[in-house]
């Protein structure tokens, strides 16, 4: 039977994360560190002239939850506009995972999201 947290697709994404790759010359990039374990995730995104994400990738180490979450997050980002990215919330990311995330694991689930927000902030600051 499927585990309540470590569902087969979560474990699959941990073993074989989506879009775990480097992007050369990314338009946006951001990094986040999970203070409780020291894990870090870097996200890199390519943006075209219409502010649309054409490709994205992530790097770093993390637990099953953070690796699955960043996989789904980056997958979701591709094809979206920066505006759509800006509208994304932590809750959306937790929803994407489709599992109940306890208080203790919230930082794991949202590590990629924090890196993404960092990327957007850096990008927007640069383009003001």
């Amino acid at each position: 039977m499927d585990d309540i947290l470590y569902k087969e697709y979560i474990l699959e994404l941990y073993r074989d994360p989506l879009h775990k790759k480097n992007i050369t010359h990314p338009t946006m990039h951001g990094k986040a560190v999970n203070q409780s374990c020291g894990d870090d995730i870097t996200v890199m995104l390519l943006v075209d002239d219409t502010d649309r994400i054409t490709d994205a990738g992530h790097q770093g180490v993390g637990c099953a939850i953070s690796q699955a979450a960043v996989s789904l997050l980056i997958d979701w980002c591709i094809g979206k506009t920066i505006r759509e990215l800006n509208e994304l919330t932590q809750e959306h990311v937790v929803d994407m995972l489709g599992i109940h995330i306890s208080y203790a694991r919230k930082n794991c689930a949202t590590l990629g999201y924090v890196a993404l927000t960092q990327a957007i902030q850096l990008y927007e600051r640069k383009n003001i």
Partner: protein, 405 residues
């Protein structure tokens, strides 16, 4: 040691708890809770300078705790300063010792220090402009994860003014070769600061026998309450050091423009102390003494051997600590191949096995030994073989979920 467990309410049968996080904070026995509760119920007055019965009682209990703690570490009561914990104690020292250091001096630490015995010295070194050196660990062979004494001999030269090291590592469990380090430090006239946060609950430490200048620890790792700790300093040092924080209770004379300091530990204890916690700590050291180091150490040895057998026999588990039981305390950090530490800890929690996962406030150490984050199971006087078995069962479950075979 079986009866010990009944003295800890948190371990009552109804909780079904396997508590393996004593290195973070130890459970508190009833006798300590009672001592603190008695303060709040019977004599909840401020200490010192009260001329009524309740305050006199509070002062006597507070100073009585100082005597108990002093006796516990072989110090004299006027060498025992109460702090809020190890972290505050080290910070106080790093600030107070600043005047004695110049940019030509060197501070020596080990590679395995907790952030609390690293960052205050980093700050001091950067303010003074002096050098920080780190005693290496042996990272291969039979002596893996023990202190590299060759490195210690290289680090500790005539330039060294302070040697600050943990008596036992909170991650690796490694016991420092205290006498050897002391010998090297004394030979060059360096001040020695021992971070005993971990060691204090695992082995008898006598400051006079060790001949350290300072020794710090917290109450809550010693079956006492949080919010209280001890800074031991040799009398001659405490007399010489200037206080680092100021207020009521630490003065001899005060005018509108200046003040002189009280004698003894009071100089370093401005403001109302954590009275109940100090009294609780006093009860905790009496509790340890009543259990006796002989049985504590025998129990510790048994748990170390048992845990090393259980964890060491699993090819998927890498224990990060010395293999010889004489080189370590019962604190076991480990990695399970293919499973992140957080996931291991999460699955352990499902069967009420409380372990800690992460960098354990030793980020440089983990990088040094080439790990990202690790699981830590740390034991106390109440830890049973059954606890270790239940940990092993939880680890088996984690491996099943993650298909680690």
């Amino acid at each position: 040691m079986k009866d010990i467990r009944t003295q800890f309410t948190a371990l009552s049968d109804t909780t079904n708890l396997v508590y393996l996080d004593s290195a973070a904070t130890a459970l508190v026995p009833e006798i300590v809770l009672d001592a603190m509760s008695l303060y709040y119920k019977k004599y909840p007055a401020n200490v010192h300078r009260g001329l009524y019965d309740m305050s006199i009682e509070a002062t006597q209990q507070y100073e009585g705790a100082r005597k108990s703690v002093a006796q516990f570490i072989g110090a004299s009561p006027d060498e025992v300063v109460f702090t809020s914990g190890t972290t505050q104690g080290i910070n106080m020292l790093a600030v107070a010792l600043k005047k004695q250091l110049t940019s030509d001096d060197v501070i020596v630490l080990t590679r395995y220090e907790h952030h609390a015995n690293l960052i205050p010295w980093q700050q001091l070194a950067s303010e003074v402009g002096c050098e920080l050196r780190f005693i290496d660990l042996i990272l291969t062979g039979d002596e893996k994860y023990t202190v590299d004494m060759e490195s210690a001999r290289t680090c500790i030269d005539a330039q060294v003014k302070v040697v600050a090291y943990s008596a036992a590592s909170h991650v690796l469990g490694t016991i420092a070769p205290i006498q050897e380090i002391q010998h090297l430090a004394k030979a060059v006239g360096a001040i020695t600061v021992i971070d005993a946060a971990q060691a204090i609950a695992h082995m008898p430490l006598n400051v006079k026998e060790i001949d350290c200048d300072f020794l710090v620890f917290s109450g809550h790792k010693l079956y006492g309450p949080t919010g209280v700790g001890v800074l031991y300093g040799k009398k001659e040092h405490l007399e010489k050091l200037a206080p680092v924080s100021f207020g009521g209770g630490m003065v001899e004379t005060v005018s509108y423009t200046s003040a002189t300091w009280a004698k003894g530990p009071a100089k370093f204890e401005p403001g109302t102390p954590s009275i109940a916690a100090v009294i609780g700590l006093g009860a905790a050291v009496k509790f340890i003494t009543s259990v006796g180091w002989k049985s504590i150490c025998a129990h510790e040895k048994d748990i170390i051997q048992y845990a090393q057998d259980v964890l060491g026999n699993d090819t998927h588990i890498e224990v990060l600590g010395p293999t010889h039981d004489t080189d370590r305390i019962a604190v076991f950090s480990f990695c399970v191949s293919g499973i992140h530490a957080h996931d291991v800890a999460e699955i352990c929690n499902r069967s009420h096995v409380a372990v800690r996962a992460g960098h354990h406030c030793a980020i440089p150490l983990l990088k040094y030994i080439g790990k990202e984050s690790v699981v830590r199971a740390s034991c106390g006087i109440y830890t049973s073989r059954e606890d270790i078995e239940r940990l092993a069962t939880a680890l088996t479950e984690a491996k099943r979920i993650f298909s680690v075979t």
